[in-house]
Symmetry: C2
Subunit: 223 residues, 2 copies
């Protein structure tokens, strides 16, 4: 499948690399290709170094990446999501599955972050309203990037991932992709309004991260 | 241990019955003993019928129950919690562990309910502020009443329960009690502000309840 992953950060790299490993044709979307390739971060790996280790993954502007894709992924931050997807272009998102993995974290009040939207709305719904012809599926936002990409790192994958969205076929496509990645328990919460539930887990996730001192954990829905 | 359970509803009965089964000296607190005993609900078991099946559990006013207790439990609804605990009496709560299992659910906008307090505050914190000398521990609010009381009903108890509170000894007392009840994974989230995380799980819990059509499920933190 031709997949465009919007975002060059930890989440975008983890997902893009994993999709490529699974044989998909992957392009990472960014605001400005030249500056992404030139950027030398103070800590962590530069995009260029990462790309050298992941030669099958392409890099293009948000719009060019989305224009050639069959499925798009928002791996930008929650704060940037709507603007990034706008740059990808409404027409380039129309009629395609759009996976949203972001969280509406608001760091303006310090740590831990609060949620900028919650309870009576969600970022998933905001994205769906902003791009009504995209087939938005909220998923993967309840775990860290390395577990999103390869859930078998932890307990052989014996934990859960949620999907929320209005289009059953889109959710089926996403569930198939998640299972390819190693997710063993894909829980369909319902329509896109159920993203409120998945996003509101973040405050608990953040406290668990604080208590454990590691992000290598996930929720399993025992039933 | 002498335990007072405030609330005669499903949660109060489940906990009171279980504590008595474990050998504790349990009194259920209610607003008005005579009207609780006289009430014939349109559906479900009357308190009187339940009490007949649980003869070891006493019934008293909120204040009388709390006056004689070593540990108090708020099993009233989130909306009623502060008022019920006020009726129990600040002095009767002072210096004792106060387990709060309630959720700040607001049904005024229809189903699913929203949360009347969240993200920058929690019901657990409100109770702690209202009764500063009580040793508040938020716990058990992330599962249904039958699993609160007897977690071994599901997967032999292989799922998680959270505790939040400012007093380490109080949390230790509560963790011991939870383990007596069959909880196998008591996760200490931190101080009482971490109740925000545990309470904000409810929107996801409610969507899972909708998706599964049963409340017999719980979260396990895989790590």
């Amino acid at each position: 499948m031709k997949i465009a992953v919007m975002g060059t950060g930890t989440v975008g790299r983890a997902l893009a690399g994993r999709f490529a490993e699974l044989g998909h044709d992957v392009t990472v979307g960014t605001r400005d290709v030249a500056s992404t390739l030139a950027r030398e971060p103070e800590q962590g790996e530069s995009y260029t170094a990462w790309a050298r280790a992941n030669p099958a993954v392409g890099l293009a502007s948000f719009a060019d990446a989305a224009a050639g894709s069959e499925l798009n992924v928002n791996a930008a931050s929650g704060q940037a999501a709507i603007e990034v997807l706008g740059a990808a272009g409404e027409g380039n998102l129309a009629g395609k599955v759009l996976i949203d993995v972001s969280n509406p974290l608001d760091f303006s009040g310090g740590l831990p972050p609060t949620l900028s939207v919650k309870d009576t709305d969600s970022l998933g719904e905001r994205i769906q309203r902003a791009f009504p012809e995209a087939l938005v599926v909220k998923t993967l936002n309840t775990m860290n990037a390395s577990l999103m990409a390869d859930p078998r790192r932890l307990a052989g994958g014996d934990h859960s991932v949620f999907v929320s969205g209005d289009d059953p076929d889109a959710k089926r496509t996403v569930a198939d992709l998640l299972e390819q990645m190693g997710h063993t328990d894909v829980v369909d919460l319902g329509d896109i309004t159920t993203a409120r539930g998945a996003e509101m887990v973040l405050p608990l996730w953040l406290r668990l991260f604080g208590a454990f001192g590691t992000a290598e954990f996930n929720f399993k829905v025992v039933r």
